[in-house]
């Protein structure tokens, strides 16, 4: 009886790691070396997820608690052509108007 109980307990204690699907690796890498409650963030495609590190089944994981925000570098990238044209236009007008 005892070996059977032990087997069942062992099975239960390990099964959880396999069947549950997995969260984004970035969400728990964001909390490596951090403490519970530390602010964390990680990239989610072109967005940034921000939250705090929480213990989920003995692992620290970044739990998002803010709406996703657009990544700053993506925003700058999308504005780059617009800025270039504006600055180029300003420069050419200054050249034309100079004596």
């Amino acid at each position: 009886m005892k070996p059977l109980v032990t087997t069942i307990v062992l099975l239960y204690s390990t099964h959880a790691l396999a069947h549950q699907g997995h969260t984004d690796e970035a969400a728990w890498k964001a909390c490596e070396g951090e403490q519970v409650g530390a602010t964390c963030s990680y990239d989610r495609g072109e967005y940034v997820a921000t939250g705090t590190c929480q213990t989920i089944e003995d692992h620290l994981m970044c739990v998002r608690n803010r709406p996703l925000t657009k990544r700053t570098d993506d925003a700058e990238k999308s504005l780059a052509p617009f800025l270039f044209v504006l600055l180029l236009g300003a420069r050419s007008r200054r050249v034309l108007s100079s004596p």
């Binding site: 099975l11 239960y12 390990t14 099964h15 959880a16 790691l17 396999a18 069947h19 549950q20 699907g21 997995h22 969260t23 984004d24 690796e25 969400a27 728990w28 519970v36 409650g37 989610r44 495609g45 072109e46 967005y47 997820a49 939250g51 705090t52 929480q54 213990t55 989920i56 089944e57 692992h59 994981m61 739990v63 998002r64 608690n65 803010r66 709406p67 996703l68 925000t69 657009k70 925003a75 504005l79 800025l83 504006l86 600055l87 236009g89 300003a90 420069r91 007008r93 200054r94």
Partner: protein
Amino acid sequence: MTARPIRTAVITALIAMGCSSSTAKNNVPETDATSPNNENTEPADMDGQSPADMDGQSDAGAASATLDPSMFLTDGLVQDISQTDCTLSGGTQTTCWQIVVTGSPANHDIGPFCPRNISDGADAGGMWIENEQTYDLSGAFIADLANFYNDPNWQLYDESTGDIYVTETQEACEGAARPDVAPEYQNHCVECDIAYVDGGTERTFLIPVEPVPTTGTNQLGRGALGVSLGGVGFEVSAPVDAILRAYTIAAFDDCGGHVNPFDGYHYHAVTDCQPNVPTDDGHAPLVGFALDGYGMYAMADSEGVEPDDLDECRGHSDEQRGYHYHVGAPGENLIIGCFRGEAGSQQ
């Protein structure tokens, strides 16, 4: 016009754009209809009927975060919800709701999970979660796994027939649902039939009638973190990649649930097929209760706006509901982050 006014105008435009993009509604990513699924987490309201309406009971307290037994679908319950003495995780002795569920969803079928051939369409399978997105688990998706993960070791189908390797027996299901997946079950799409647990695993949830807040937070333990209004447990997700290392896909159905031999059918995500109680003030609908007794609501309100003041557990308070949680998106494989109150239990 000199360069300085232009620069000023550009900076002003940048600030304006930055401000507009900081609103929660605009921050919801647009979803590519050709790849990941839409992550709309606002559950359908059962054709306008609340769970209470569906079984002909009162819908009193529909907007409240206080647990009312009439909110639950009776088909998901083994017996009437009752009250009993209980001891919470912090040692508080109090009265709990005793909710005994059948372990089978009251309002939808279970599955499908794995497609059987790479020619099968999306209807033949459920969904998969990766990079915080949900994907239709179609035959084409299975066929493309090596590219998807950029790893040629993914080979879940017979190249000559296109048949997908699926755990078709209880033995295979149990062998694959472990971290040390046996070699013969690697490169399988893993699914377990609800028949292996006699059609459902009866579970008892003890949830405090009056939540007992804690000064800090309580971490989520192993197992269920709460229960849906349809009588199915919401489970904690493990931040491990064990299943990927074994080249297995532990498929979810389109409702974000799957079966294992221990917990039976359970959810890892809140999707649009779980029953809910709609609110009358535009707030997100109620989808279930956490083990600490606080209500769990969908992620976004009727306008699609996600709250921007959630605490570390993904909860906040308002006048109508008091303290309550808002669940994460299905692709996050995360429902709430921790408990704000002393937790009851689940057996």
